[in-house]
């Protein structure tokens, strides 16, 4: 039946079903939190799928944009009197503008040089957030005004719900919107140029594409995604520290993207799911937690080069057509 649907619609349907059905397997309300974190990470990762998977550019500094989004939501309501949701938009706009401003010179760089430049950018943002204690509360972080979702549900619908349960559905909705936008981009003319960049920048240039402009577009979009994810995390946790903008978080985001399969939105979400849920499972290994995590990362990359999802899909196809 689904065979007649275009792939992106199919992907969205699969995603919707998974989000809707997963709670049936949750043994306790704690899993709504893990689910929400998966959705939030997935949103940042979708941005990187556009940058890494579509356009073939690397970034080791995207956590910086998450930091901007997070602190926009922390500071917006306090200093500008903005609604938290307006602060989220503001954060995304600031991130996009910053990406646009620094994107041109940075994206002229290639490969590892691009990696170190984006790393530097992320470090600079993280340092400002850590050092401007007056504004950001420094390394110990600051409280964030929440969206009041649970309260809104209680008042309008008249029953009491746990914050994390409301957030699960809210985050799931946000993820679906993010995925829908990215999947549409994939099939748009812009998306096609981006993917041609991934294969060969020079070939794209020879057929007349304004390579620099399209790279910049991917960079700006991915920055906005990262920023929204950061905002959501801040609003969800109602507390934020500069750790969100750290180099380690940047690396984590890239790892999620590549581990799941950078080429597709669903692959990215699979990666985000794996790396967000894994630490919760690995707690049973106690002190061997980090050894296991490192081992799993290496094994996936050695034996599933295209990432988790594409490899599994290939395996299933092979079995289906003997």
């Amino acid at each position: 039946m689904t065979a007649y649907l275009p792939p992106r619609v199919r992907a969205l349907i699969i995603l919707t079903i998974l989000i809707a059905l997963a709670p049936m397997l949750f043994p306790s309300s704690f899993y709504y939190r893990v689910g929400t974190l998966i959705f939030i990470n997935s949103i940042a990762v979708i941005g990187l799928v556009i940058l890494i998977g579509y356009a073939g550019q690397i970034s080791l500094g995207h956590a910086g944009f998450s930091g901007i989004g997070a602190y926009a939501c922390a500071l917006g309501p306090v200093h500008l009197g903005l609604h938290p949701f307006a602060s989220l938009i503001l954060g995304a706009v600031v991130s996009a503008l910053l990406a646009w401003f620094v994107g041109r010179p940075i994206l002229r760089l290639k490969g590892h040089y691009l990696a170190v430049a984006t790393l530097g950018l992320g470090m600079l943002i993280s340092m400002v957030l850590t050092n401007e204690t007056q504004l950001t509360g420094g390394p110990d972080g600051m409280a964030v005004e929440g969206l009041g979702l649970a309260k809104a549900v209680r008042e309008t619908l008249g029953f009491k719900v746990k914050t994390s349960v409301v957030w699960y559905w809210f985050g799931g909705g946000m993820l679906l919107i993010g995925a829908w936008l990215a999947l549409n981009l994939y099939n748009s003319p812009t998306g096609r140029v981006l993917r041609s960049l991934h294969d060969s920048e020079i070939a794209a240039k020879t057929v007349g594409a304004d390579v620099a402009r399209y790279k910049l577009v991917a960079f700006v979009i991915s920055a906005a995604y990262a920023s929204v994810a950061g905002s959501l995390l801040a609003l969800f946790n109602r507390f934020i520290t500069p750790d969100i903008a750290s180099f380690l978080h940047s690396v984590e985001l890239v790892t999620m993207t590549v581990l799941g399969g950078a080429g597709s939105v669903l692959g990215g979400i699979a990666g985000a799911t794996l790396l967000t849920a894994l630490p919760q499972v690995l707690t049973m290994f106690h002190e061997y937690e980090h050894v296991m995590l490192g081992l799993i990362m290496m094994l996936v990359m050695i034996f599933m080069r295209d990432g988790l999802l594409p490899t599994l899909r290939k395996l299933m196809l092979r079995r289906a057509i003997p």
Partner: protein, 384 residues
């Protein structure tokens, strides 16, 4: 995709199922949770805390448990990351269903977790330093370590007694250093002390001679304070001697472990710091109420781990003992009853001092809990 999702969720579910079966055996158990920075930048603090808790649980259970029920400790490693800490706090409350939580090695992690415990009404004893944890008082939140504000006050009192009024500060930019720097700047005026040089260093920096050179050259400077923990203070101390600065150097309670003396070597001679009685157990007067407590803890910890004791493990010791005492007083492990008993803790003798909690004070320590120590001949000496 579908398969993978399903696989993932079932693994998670299976893992939890396995854990819940372990956690809820036929007989009653008291579940206590803890999430600490066992790894990461604050593992220096979190590691002895975790080991202390594990040791004490065994000890209590061997002696028949609390109110006749054995304690089960569920311990997670948040690496000092507030987001992870909050996730584990939620897990402890909603999934493991613990009755009380000890933890939060860092102030950032603690602050991120507090709303969870307040919302779910679970007593929580933090092991982090910042004064913001208990000021303003939160109904379900307690803490055992002296605040950074108290450390500043203790240092400044000592300076005042020695006629020092112009000082330099060199602070770590980690949570601990930043927070204590802020508190010190805040209270300096109360002691007629002027900060004439204010430098910082990053948590993984390896040379602080440029900053110290500036401090050395500051006009009229009489002493230097170094808020921070980990490798920073040891390197600052060594650089201090390398540059030949012969002004008094004050470290914070963040270096209160024997390893600081080992790491800083001869350079540590003459360094002063405020610290708990734990470090000078053998020098305490025989009638000091803390003497049996601290010597007992030192003996047990060193036998259990083979590592020298630090005041950080002592914070966990105090938290656990106070919690157990509260459960015994309350006669149950019901969170509400335990919280009330915790708030009524009076005259509890711990490694950090004598604790007198109240509805207005969820720390219960005063400045007398701090001793001013000086390092002489590679050992701590009380100087007051």
């Amino acid at each position: 995709m579908k398969l993978k999702e399903v696989f993932k969720t079932t693994t998670l579910a299976a893992a939890t199922a396995a854990m819940t079966t372990l956690a809820t055996p036929a007989f009653a158990e008291i579940l206590i949770g803890s999430t600490l920075a066992i790894t990461g930048r604050a593992s220096f603090l979190g590691d002895p805390e975790a080991k202390t808790l594990a040791m004490l649980v065994d000890e209590v259970n061997a002696a028949g448990g609390v109110n006749g029920e054995p304690i089960k400790l569920i311990q997670y490693d948040d690496g000092g990351d507030p987001n992870k800490a909050r996730t584990f706090a939620t897990r402890l409350v909603e999934d493991d269903e613990v009755v009380a939580v000890i933890g939060g090695t860092t102030s950032g992690a603690t602050m991120a977790m507090i709303p969870i415990f307040e919302e779910n009404e679970i007593p929580f004893i933090s092991l982090a330093g910042a004064v913001a944890i208990i000021d303003p008082v939160k109904k379900w939140v307690f803490k055992t370590p002296h605040t950074d504000r108290m450390a500043c006050e203790k240092i400044f009192t000592d300076m005042q007694a020695n006629g020092i009024s112009k000082i330099g500060m060199i602070s770590g930019t980690g949570g601990f250093g930043k927070s204590m720097r802020g508190q010190c700047l805040d209270v300096a005026g109360n002691y007629q002390i002027e900060v004439v040089a204010d430098e910082t260093y990053g948590p993984s920096d390896s040379d602080m001679t440029p900053q110290l050179t500036n401090i050395k050259n500051a006009e009229g400077i009489q002493a230097v304070v170094n808020p921070g923990f980990g490798q920073g203070p040891a390197i600052v101390t060594r650089n201090y001697r390398q540059l030949g600065i012969d002004l008094p150097l004050y470290q914070s309670h963040g270096v209160a472990s024997k390893s600081f003396i080992e790491l800083a070597g001869d350079a540590a001679e003459g360094v002063r710091l405020p610290a708990a009685a734990l470090l000078v157990a053998s020098d305490l007067a025989d009638d000091d109420p803390q003497k049996p407590v601290v010597t007992g803890y030192i003996k047990a910890y060193e036998a259990a781990t083979g590592e020298p004791v630090s005041t950080f493990g002592g914070h966990a010791y105090d938290a656990f003992k106070m919690l157990v005492a509260a459960m015994e007083t309350a006669g149950s492990s019901d969170p509400e009853a335990v919280r009330d008993a915790l708030e009524n803790t009076r005259g509890f003798v711990g490694t950090g001092g004598v604790v007198n909690m109240s509805a207005e004070d969820h720390l219960g320590l005063d400045l007398s809990a701090f001793k001013m120590l000086e390092i002489r001949d590679g050992n701590w000496t009380i100087v007051e």
